[in-house]
Symmetry: C2
Subunit: 189 residues, 2 copies
């Protein structure tokens, strides 16, 4: 997606440890116009999939998923990272490891909001080692729902997540795949 790649080149900041900061437009401050273009692009790429629900994970996936959902006319469900007193006991849960925060999370969704009738599109901002996405895939499988695909805004192509997910046979669409980063430049696949 040309507009997104240009924006990453312009406003993305590469930090030590292969960290790409896109917090000026994607995951701290959010450019809603750009994210609408992202929604249009995901709709184009998953146009024929009979999607009934969009699944994401808190926190930075939620806003993107809500904008994207407008192009599919379906509800969003977001997985939560810890048990809240407002969630019933009747949940699907899994554990995921966060690359960013260097710790493990319990990730849960209420069984009420994902069922065997659902056809799910998973949306997230980043794909790196794939832990978050694999956790979400497990939640969908636990519910007996169909995974129609996964839409990722930025994939770190030099990490293994994308390869693992594609080898599972999942329809994965990443709008910008980064092959490598140096101090000053981001090179796309």
């Amino acid at each position: 997606m040309k507009l997104l790649k240009e924006r990453i080149q312009k406003d993305g900041i590469v930090k030590p440890g292969n960290v790409l900061k896109v917090d000026s437009f994607l995951n701290h401050q959010m450019d809603i116009t750009l994210i609408n273009h992202i929604g249009e692009e995901f709709k184009r790429r998953f146009a024929d999939a009979p999607i009934t629900k969009i699944l994401t994970i808190e926190a930075s996936g939620i806003g993107i998923a809500c904008i994207v959902a407008q192009y599919f006319n379906v509800p969003v469900v977001f997985a939560k990272k810890a048990q809240s007193i407002n969630i019933d006991g009747d949940i699907y849960s899994t554990k995921i490891e966060s690359f960013t925060h260097k710790r493990n999370y319990d990730v849960i969704i209420s069984k009420k909001f994902l069922s065997a009738e659902d056809h799910v599109l998973i949306i997230d901002d980043f794909l790196a080692n794939g832990c978050a996405l694999l956790g979400l895939i497990e939640l969908v499988k636990n519910a007996g729902a169909v995974i129609e695909g996964a839409g990722i805004v930025i994939e770190k192509g030099f990490q293994t997540g994308g390869k693992i997910i594609r080898e599972m046979g999942i329809h994965l669409e990443s709008l910008a795949i980064i092959d490598y980063m140096t101090d000053n430049t981001v090179t796309f696949r």
Copy 2:
């Protein structure tokens, strides 16, 4: 807002401890069509305010803020609940107490995304004792920005947050104000 109140009556569930669960349409599963109506309503109520930015707090505020932002054509900034390695040191921070989770959070925003030129509308899903909203107000004041108002989806009118915020002279608009809840019924102001 009639549509919202009807939805709370239909799908909200009152739990012990004055907890109102609206997780089937607002803060776990999200009805994007309803939230677009919420966006339209906030635009109507803040039509004359020269808003440049919408501020919210992770996690459940983010999706609502992103949909609402489309009606104001401005970016969203969401405050984060803990220091991430992806956030620079140059931040505004405050502490807030969570009613839901019964603990304190450090809440931060990067100084890059809020300045003295900004006119801010704060958006959140719930207002109860007001701790989250007071924390966000403090962040805006630290930045020297103008608070144009706060838009809340559901206010628990039997708790003190709304009174405190209104007495500060802040333009607070709550789309549904609950005066009291019993096991089976929600009574609006």
